[in-house]
C-alpha cells in the first residue's frame, strides 16, 4: 500500500500495550496534534519485539521504524524492556552493515501518562525521517556481484 504522495512517508511503530500505547492514547485524549505518517502495531511488551519485525518493515519499504516501551525498571512484565533494549541496540548497530541509515530506526521509552512526550517523540522522529527522505527501495538496488565470478 503506497503512502499519500507528497504528504507522508511510511513510518511503522511497535508499541507496548501498557506504557507507550497508553501514552499514545493519552496524547490523543489530550488532542496533542501529531504528524499522520505513523502507523502503530500494538504488542504486549517491547520484549515481544523480534528485531526481525523491524527488518521486515525496513526491507518492505518503511522509511522509518519507531519502537517504544515502558521506561526501564517500569516494565509491566518486570524485565521485558531490558531484553528489548539489548536487542534493539544491537540491531541499530547492524543497520549500516545492511546499507540502512541507522537514523531510520529509533527506540524510546514513553509511559502511559506521558502524552506530551509522545507528541514530541512522534513529531521529532517524523521530522527526522522527512529530513532523510524516502528510503531507497531494496528492489532498486543493483544485483550484488557474485562471489568468485
Amino acid at each position: 500500500m503506497s503512502v499519500l504522495e507528497g504528504k507522508e512517508l511510511r513510518i511503522v511503530g511497535f508499541l507496548c500495550n501498557w506504557c507507550s500505547y497508553g501514552g499514545a492514547d493519552t496524547a490523543g485524549v489530550g488532542r496533542f496534534t501529531q504528524p499522520t505518517d505513523l502507523r502503530i502495531v500494538r504488542v504486549p511488551c517491547s520484549g515481544r519485539i523480534n528485531p526481525l519485525f523491524v527488518m521486515k518493515a525496513l526491507i518492505g519499504g518503511a522509511d522509518g521504524v519507531l519502537v517504544s516501551g515502558c521506561h526501564p525498571r517500569d516494565c509491566h512484565y518486570a524485565e521485558g524492556n531490558y531484553y528489548a533494549r539489548r536487542r534493539l541496540e544491537v540491531l541499530k548497530g547492524l543497520l549500516p552493515v545492511l546499507g540502512i541509515d541507522p537514523r531510520r530506526f529509533e527506540y524510546t521509552w514513553v509511559s502511559a501518562s506521558e502524552g506530551q512526550r509522545w507528541q514530541h517523540v512522534v513529531s521529532s522522529f517524523t521530522a527526522q525521517i522527512h529530513a532523510l527522505g524516502p528510503a531507497a527501495r531494496f528492489t532498486e538496488a543493483p544485483e550484488p556481484a557474485r562471489l568468485g565470478a
Binding site: D25, T33, N50, F53, K56, G60, D74, Y77, S111, A112
Partner: protein
C-alpha cells in the same frame, strides 16, 4: 474466514476528521472482508445490536471494529461478538480515534490512515484462532500497603466482609498523616478521636495481620496469587514482650533525637513510642540516635524494661505471604520547602510548616497544645499563613494544586483564634479552592466570624527584624504592596508523591506519572484499579486528596478487591504462549527469560521440550522473541500475525 468491519463515527469524535463511509468502502475490498459499514456509536446498544445482527445475517466469523482505543472498549466488543456466537478472540480493533481523529486535522490523511489501520487489523484477524480461558484458584487474602486513613479503611472494609487482610506500614505506627493532625476541616472535630478507634479496630480485628515498621521487599506472581516478601525492620525491642508502658522512653539518656512523628517540633528520645495512641503501642529504637549503638555502652532501656523486651542484637526479618490482591495506599510527603530562599530556606526558627503547626496545636503534641514561637517560647500574636508553598509552582516542578491546603489553612486560622483569643491571622493566598460539602462556607466563616484577614497575593520575602519576621507581599486586589509584622509564619507546604513511590510502583508493576503518583486504570471509569490486574489504589498515592475522598477511595478499593477475591476461581487470559513440540529443540532459552517461571521443561520420549503452564503465563511474549526456532508462539500476537500487520503496510 468471513470478516465484518464496522467503522464507528463516535458522534463527531471520529467522523469530524475521518470520512468513515470512505474507510468502510475501502475496507470492503480487503481480503476476506465480506461486509463493511460505518456506524454512529458502535459501543452503544444500537451499535452492538447492529454488529450482532450483521454477524448473524452475513454469517461473519470474525469482526473488526474501528473506533476508540482497545484499552477502552475491547472487552465491550468481545462480549458483543460472543453474544452473537462468535468466539470473543475472533475480534480485532483499529484505534482510529486516539491515534487518528484526535491527533490529525487533515481529513484526507486521516481517512487514509484509518483505512490502513483497518487493513492491519483485518490482516491480523485472518490469523486469529479461537481461544478459551482456563480457570485457576484464588488466594483469598488481601495485602494493604500503607496504614494511613485510606489503607485503614480499605483493610477494615475488606476484613469486615470476611477477607483475610495483611497490612504493611513502614512507620512504627499506623495512622499516617491524619494521626498527626489536631483537628479536621470543615467540622473542626478532633482527628485522633475519629481515627483512633479505627486504628484500634485494625489492631483487634481477627482478620487483620499488621506488620508495622515493615516494608514491601518483593512481589512476584500475578492476580489471584501474588507472592509477597515483607521485610520487618529491626526495632531492637521484642514486640511480643513490650507492653508499651513507656518506662524506657522516660529513662533514655539520649534526648536529642529527631522526632519524626512530631515533625521535629521538639526533640525526643532514641527509644520511642511515637504517640500515646500509637497502634501498635510498642517501643522501637532509632539506631542513629542510640548511645548503645553509637558509643557501644548505655543499655539503660534494657535495664529498666520490666519485661526484658529490649534486644540490641535484633536483625531485620523477612516474612513471606501469599495474597490474591493488593491495595496500594502509600499516601504523600511534603514538598521540600527549603528550596524557597525567599522564605528563609529553613534559617528562621519561627517559620514553620503547616504540619509542624498542626503538632503545636495538638494537645498530645510536644508543646501540649500551646502555640509557642520556637525561637523564644512566647505566644505569638500576629500569625501569617502563606499558601501554595510548593503547589502550583512550575519553577520547582510542582505545577499542580495540592488540593487540601486552602482548607487546612482556614482550619488552622480558626484554631489559632481558639488557642490565642488575642491573635490576628493573615492568610496570603493565590485563589481559595474550596469545592466540597460545607467547604466554601467554612472559608467564609474563618474570615467573617474569626476575623482572619485574607490577602490575595504572593509573599515575596520574609526577613527577620528585631525578633519579629517581616512578611512582604502583594495585595493584588488592592494593587498595593503590603508588609505584615509577624510573630509566627506558617507555610502551607504542598504535597508530593511519597518518597520511593516509583520504586514501589516498579515492584508492583504498575505505572506512575511524572510526579510519582500511581496511574489509575482509567481517569473516569477505573479510579481505583490499575492496569495490573489485582492491584488497586487508595488515597493520595493516586493523586492528592483530602480525608473524605481518601476514605471513599479506601472503601472503593476494598469493594473492587472483594469483587475479585469473592470468586473461588478466576479465568485466565488465554492470550498466552504455546509450544510447538515438533519445532522445540529443548534449548531452555524460553525458560530462562520467562519473568513468571511459567515455562517448564518436560520429557517427551527422551527429548527435552518446553511446556507453558497456562494459568501462570501472563502473555508478555518474551519467550516468543527469544526462541531461535519460532517454536513458542504467543497466541494472538504470533510472529505471523505481527508480520501480517507489517506486510499490510509495507509491501513492495
Amino acid at each position: 474466514m468471513k470478516i465484518g468491519v464496522f467503522i464507528c463515527h463516535c458522534g463527531s469524535n471520529i467522523a469530524g476528521t475521518v470520512d468513515c463511509a470512505a474507510v468502510a468502502e475501502r475496507a470492503s475490498t480487503y481480503p476476506d472482508v465480506v461486509y463493511a459499514t460505518d456506524i454512529m456509536y458502535a459501543c452503544a446498544e444500537p451499535g452492538q445490536d447492529a454488529i450482532i445482527a450483521a454477524i448473524k445475517k452475513h454469517g461473519l466469523t470474525g469482526v473488526v471494529v474501528a473506533s476508540c482505543t482497545p484499552r477502552m472498549h475491547e472487552p465491550t466488543f468481545r462480549k458483543a461478538v460472543e453474544r452473537a456466537g462468535v468466539n470473543r478472540y475472533m475480534f480485532e480493533m483499529a484505534n482510529i480515534r486516539e491515534h487518528v481523529s484526535w491527533i490529525g486535522k487533515d481529513i484526507e490523511a486521516n481517512t487514509n490512515k484509518a483505512a490502513e489501520l483497518v487493513r492491519m487489523a483485518a490482516a491480523k484477524l485472518r490469523l486469529d484462532r479461537e481461544l478459551k480461558p482456563k480457570s485457576f484458584p484464588v488466594t483469598k487474602r488481601l495485602l494493604v500497603i500503607g496504614g494511613g486513613v485510606a489503607g485503614i479503611q480499605a483493610a477494615l472494609d475488606a476484613a469486615d466482609a470476611g477477607l483475610e487482610v495483611v497490612m504493611v506500614e513502614k512507620q512504627p505506627t499506623i495512622g499516617g498523616k491524619m494521626a498527626k493532625l489536631d483537628k479536621t476541616f470543615p467540622t473542626v472535630d478532633c482527628s485522633s478521636c475519629i481515627l483512633g478507634p479505627r486504628m484500634v479496630d485494625v489492631a483487634q480485628h481477627p482478620n487483620i495481620t499488621l506488620y508495622a515498621y515493615a516494608e514491601l521487599e518483593e512481589v512476584s506472581g500475578y492476580v489471584g496469587n501474588f507472592d509477597v516478601k515483607i521485610r520487618k525492620k529491626a526495632t531492637y525491642v521484642d514486640w511480643d514482650k513490650c507492653t508499651g508502658c513507656g518506662l524506657c522512653t522516660e529513662k533514655c539518656p539520649s534526648k536529642k533525637s529527631y522526632d519524626r512523628f512530631n515533625e521535629g517540633v521538639g526533640p525526643t528520645t532514641a527509644i520511642i513510642i511515637p504517640f500515646p495512641q500509637a497502634i501498635p503501642k510498642k517501643a522501637s529504637i532509632e539506631r542513629e540516635y542510640c548511645r548503645q549503638f553509637n558509643k557501644g555502652k548505655c543499655g539503660v532501656c534494657a535495664k529498666v524494661c520490666p519485661t526484658g523486651a529490649v534486644n540490641y542484637e535484633m536483625q531485620d526479618e523477612t516474612v513471606e505471604v501469599k495474597v490474591g490482591g493488593i491495595v496500594a495506599a502509600t499516601g504523600y510527603d511534603l514538598v521540600d520547602w527549603k528550596v524557597y530562599s525567599e522564605y528563609g530556606g529553613g534559617r528562621y526558627p519561627d517559620v514553620v510548616t503547616s504540619l509542624q503547626y498542626e503538632r503545636m496545636l495538638s494537645a498530645s503534641g510536644p508543646t501540649g497544645g500551646h502555640v509557642k514561637r520556637p525561637s523564644d517560647g512566647t505566644e505569638p500574636v500576629n500569625v501569617v499563613f502563606v499558601q501554595c508553598v510548593g503547589s502550583r509552582d512550575p519553577s520547582i516542578g510542582r505545577p499542580y494544586c495540592s488540593g487540601f491546603c486552602c482548607m487546612y489553612t482556614a482550619k488552622q486560622a480558626i484554631l489559632t483564634k481558639d488557642h490565642i483569643p488575642g491573635s490576628q491571622s493573615y492568610v496570603f493566598y493565590m485563589d481559595i479552592r474550596s469545592p466540597g460539602k460545607g467547604y466554601d462556607e467554612f472559608t467564609r466563616r474563618v474570615q467573617e466570624e474569626y476575623g482572619a484577614r485574607y490577602v490575595r497575593g504572593r509573599v515575596s520575602m520574609i526577613y527577620p527584624k528585631g525578633g519579629k519576621l517581616m512578611v512582604r507581599g502583594a495585595d493584588t486586589l488592592m494593587g498595593t504592596q503590603v508588609e505584615v509584622e509577624a510573630d509566627l509564619v506558617v507555610l502551607a507546604v504542598g504535597a508530593e508523591a511519597s518518597a520511593n513511590s516509583s520504586a514501589l510502583a516498579e515492584k508492583l508493576r504498575i505505572s506512575y506519572d511524572g510526579y510519582g503518583f500511581f496511574m489509575e486504570g482509567h481517569p473516569k471509569l477505573k479510579p481505583v484499579e490499575t492496569n495490573t490486574a489485582g492491584v488497586f489504589l487508595a488515597g493520595s498515592c493516586q493523586g492528592l486528596k483530602d480525608i473524605p475522598s481518601s476514605v471513599a477511595q479506601g472503601s472503593a478499593a476494598a469493594a473492587k478487591a472483594l469483587g475479585l477475591l469473592s470468586r473461588d476461581m478466576l479465568d485466565s487470559d488465554p492470550q498466552i504462549a504455546s509450544v510447538s513440540v515438533n519445532r522445540c529443540v529443548g534449548c531452555r532459552k524460553c525458560i530462562e527469560v520467562c519473568p513468571f517461571k511459567a515455562i517448564q521443561e518436560v520429557d517427551m520420549r527422551g527429548q527435552p521440550k518446553a511446556e507453558v503452564i497456562e494459568t501462570v503465563c501472563q502473555g508478555c511474549g518474551l519467550c516468543n522473541a527469544t526462541c531461535p526456532q519460532g517454536a513458542i508462539q504467543l497466541s494472538h500476537f504470533t510472529d505471523n500475525q505481527i508480520l501480517a500487520e507489517v506486510e499490510a503496510l509495507c509491501r513492495f
